[in-house]
Symmetry: C2
Subunit: 73 residues, 2 copies
């Protein structure tokens, strides 16, 4: 599980927790929906600029998007 997968899992979880669709989050964070979709599939290493924007919309700290939920794995 690399950092792309950690980001993907956290993003899906936190986006759902806010009741946002991919379209909603992409629109508010000013990224394309297809790019967001790929990030949520763990396809890309996003840049910190994207991480910052997504965290801002989700009202969390950027580092929370990179923290693995289960440390024992």
């Amino acid at each position: 599980m690399d950092l792309r997968d950690v980001l993907a899992a956290n993003l899906r979880r936190l986006r759902h927790a806010k009741g946002l669709s991919q379209d909603d989050l992409a629109y508010e964070a000013e990224v394309s929906r297809s790019y967001l979709s790929q990030i949520e599939k763990g396809k890309y290493y996003a840049s910190l600029k994207i991480i910052e924007k997504l965290a801002s919309v989700l009202q969390i700290e950027p580092w929370e998007l990179l923290k693995a939920p289960e440390r024992e794995k």
Copy 2:
């Protein structure tokens, strides 16, 4: 203070804590020294791939590089 500055400050602090020069860290993380230097100056939004490599060399979790040291600011 945006995420570039948080990364820059953490990187300098954690690199010094390990007793590594920029050359050492750049070499071990397989990035150029000039790129690392710019990141430590807060010039670039690094990608998660770079964050992952740097954290690996510094023996920390990637998210630790993004956590602001002082939350009250």
